[in-house]
Symmetry: C2
Subunit: 201 residues, 2 copies
Amino acid sequence: MSVRQSLLAILDQGPCYGYQLRAEFERRTGSSRPLNVGQIYNTLDRLERDGFVQKGETDSHGHVYYAITDAGSAAVASWLAAPVERSQGARDELATKLAVATSLPGVDVAGIIRAQQRASRAQLDELTRVARAAASLPGPQELGRTLIAEAGIAHAEAELRWLEETQRLLSRHPEAATPLALASERPKRGRPARVETVAIA
Amino acid sequence: MSVRQSLLAILDQGPCYGYQLRAEFERRTGSSRPLNVGQIYNTLDRLERDGFVQKGETDSHGHVYYAITDAGSAAVASWLAAPVERSQGARDELATKLAVATSLPGVDVAGIIRAQQRASRAQLDELTRVARAAASLPGPQELGRTLIAEAGIAHAEAELRWLEETQRLLSRHPEAATPLALASERPKRGRPARVETVAIA
DNA sequence: ACAGCCATGTAACTTGTTACATGATTTT
DNA sequence: AAAATCATGTAACAAGTTACATGGCTGT
């Protein structure tokens, strides 16, 4: 939702045309990830469909302006007022992967963790470089870049801490990582079990 | 991708039918978020379309078994071998929101941050309770629940740290949070500017 | 008999994302 | 003249998610 809502929030400042919106979004977020222009037009279509913006006039340069509606302004206010729920709609990809991996037989979980640590550290380094570069540059446009880089740093650090914690957990309680075989049918259903319920050694 | 890949990884242990797959997934991940059954069948259709699984026979109970293909097994191996890239495909919703919010005039960013801190702390408490409950229970099924809860804890803590850091940044350098007005056209295009490029006081 | 779970599936929808087509204008 | 940028748009797709229809079986 963040692209959709961000574009709407920008439109709350005044009518914009598509290409301009992309520039505004990137200026404000420090172009952390480039935004494909096509997405702007998709999103504008959807926002119009939902009654949050209205397609306005085309000026002498062919710029097609979109203006926010009252419903759109209200949506922006709600968005700003409501906290972001990290849980909703987002499964933690790494945690899910490791949870599943530890339940699988013959998987080198320790190796996966080490590989992930290397990758996360590399990303942390990269983000640190980005944040330092942004801090050394002038201008209010760098705030967005800094904020987003710092958020990435915080999450990468959290990931590394969690990976270490997981290493400790698995080495201290190796029995917890017993692979789970596919559960057999409930007996009442009586299908001949192809795999046993019990853990595989 | 985590649901799709997890289901495929489970199928790598042996053929399963849809409903069983959901139970396996939830057992391994500790049902951190319940998985709608319909999604299983969607995902199986898509995996079959992509050549990673094959629809097998229906047993006497009407259970429709799916079996992994060689291509599917290879995909599982790649998934396990490759680190998760947090950056890809994922914009940080909170960071994007605050980056945009600080660029907007008349927005109470400090208030947004405080509200987010309350929400994040509440979630941290909730996850801590979940993790404690999982730790006190026996059985290898609790490992997944613990892992996922701890990951949530780590990220919630990272969020709180980042929010404090952002507070410091904004209070120490209030000039950085100067709202950005909509940029006027480039002069060469000569459209009369409706808004000024310069910052709004 | 009825509630509820087991089980399969379909249809629709969301946000994000990319690739492509098209043309005007600008820069080199 | 060619390359790059500005600008609008379309079409398709990915992955996740939900709501619904349908039917069998189970326990009370």
